[in-house]
Symmetry: C2
Subunit: 281 residues, 2 copies
């Protein structure tokens, strides 16, 4: 396994970890000062009408982009809703290109608001993703399909395992041209009894590795994620499996923690993340 | 698909649905009066030193047993803990035999309290299950392995998909002698993109079908389960898949709902369950 210590190029901070409390310019400076070489911002932090301003601020801080978060949900109850999601997600890809992000993370969405039809909604999502292909080709930006934990299937993502993401990549990008890949987040996939086999088959498709931790007694699966080392995930095992498949990108910290880490001083959070990456990831 | 209306033999009530507010004798009378022909009680409701008393009360109400809930968690940090779980679970099987329950539902438990080692804990669980075989043979009672939703992997069950349960059955009961089978609970498996294929391969192994519903905005994955029809699960689809595999047992209602259904009058809850079974399951 790669050594992460002293390697800013292998250390990426997802801005969600800091709770979106400050403008991206200030966040970027803090992240760089903590020894991270990459940053993954969220759309809500970027003025998408003028993304070159944020791009400049991030460059000025000495950072590169890890990725860009994230797509709007694809499944909708009517055609107008589906078209709006595709239009928004095309814009995310264009903005990612301006920022210099290699990919947009796709959180594909759950069931359409008035639907229970899993297969129809998954098909609608796949059609929406396929509609992005011309923009992906034009920009050189990829889509990193992120399987989310099955607890989010109803309302956030009908893409729930690495194996399912791999199959979607095979369908959307059969020649592996780099249009679609997979964002593996340890929080979402750690429990999967098929994980090792699925990551083996997904070799060459993984674009991102996200880390945080799953607390044994999770109060809220969305906003009670743990700092690396505080929960039950064998983070080293997952990184080893991903790296065995050829992954060479940075390890990205993404922690949604409303009641703990989002209340701490941002520099303390970054220092803690950095120290944990050296020993526990 | 089978018609459930007017078929008490195909309608089973899991007592958790009523929130454990009354003694089993009274619960059994209510359940029978609502048109259910079977009941699945929990260990906390049965005096396991004298299970013949509860057996008599359930028979007197005109009910048969659906199953018996449930095993203690197998994974432990030391050998004494593992032995204690096995001893408790042997006793559950013996009690099930006295009650006349065809199987004990196995909720296998999550990680041992101080472990992060998924594969070691799963192995310990499998060894614990295997240790029950002599008691299963002696009593004729089976173990119904229940895959739980992955949200429970850390603290309640490292068995999380139908396919995983099928593999465990193949290992524990390779000749399919009826020692081990699968309890399919729609709440736990509805999201699984592999569900149809897994249920196809599990044909002949399914011992139980549990229903409730997954609320789109679930507040608490443990105790905020929905009444059939109030959530997003395609219950008819899942029942059809299970019945296509040869399942001929009753459909069992099991709803953990602390803030809604556990506060309602038990007879109202039973009437609602019964009506929903006629049209929505």
């Amino acid at each position: 396994m790669r050594v992460l210590s002293g390697r800013p190029d292998l250390r990426c901070m997802n801005t969600a970890t800091l709770g979106f409390r400050e403008p991206i310019e200030r966040t970027a400076r803090r992240v760089a000062a903590a020894g991270f070489g990459r940053i993954t911002p969220w759309r809500q932090e970027i003025d998408e009408a003028h993304p070159e301003r944020a791009a400049q601020a991030i460059r000025a801080a000495g950072l590169k982009l890890g990725g860009y978060c994230r797509t709007d949900y694809f499944a909708a109850d009517d055609a107008a809703g589906a078209r709006a999601a595709i239009a928004s997600n095309r814009r995310a890809v264009e903005v990612a290109a301006v920022l210099g992000a290699p990919f947009v993370v796709a959180v594909v969405g759950g069931l359409a608001p008035n639907s229970k039809n899993l297969s129809a909604c998954r098909e609608q999502i796949l059609e929406g993703l396929a509609a992005l292909v011309p923009t992906l080709r034009a920009t050189g930006v990829a889509i990193a399909l992120e399987p989310l934990h099955p607890v989010y299937a109803a309302n956030r993502s009908l893409l729930n395992t690495v194996e399912q993401a791999r199959r979607w990549c095979e369908r959307l990008d059969p020649a592996n041209e780099g249009l679609f890949g997979i964002a593996v987040d340890a929080y979402h996939v750690w429990w999967d009894p098929e994980l090792e086999a699925a990551l083996g088959r997904a070799a060459g498709r993984v674009l991102a590795l996200h880390v945080c931790d799953w607390m044994r007694e999770t109060k809220d699966p969305l906003l009670d994620r743990g700092m690396m080392g505080d929960g039950v995930i064998e983070l080293g095992r997952i990184r080893r499996l991903v790296e065995q498949g050829g992954f060479g990108g940075p390890v990205e910290v993404e922690i949604f923690s409303r009641d703990v880490w989002w209340k701490r001083d941002p520099d303390e959070v970054l220092r803690t993340c950095s120290a944990r990456m050296d020993t526990l990831v």
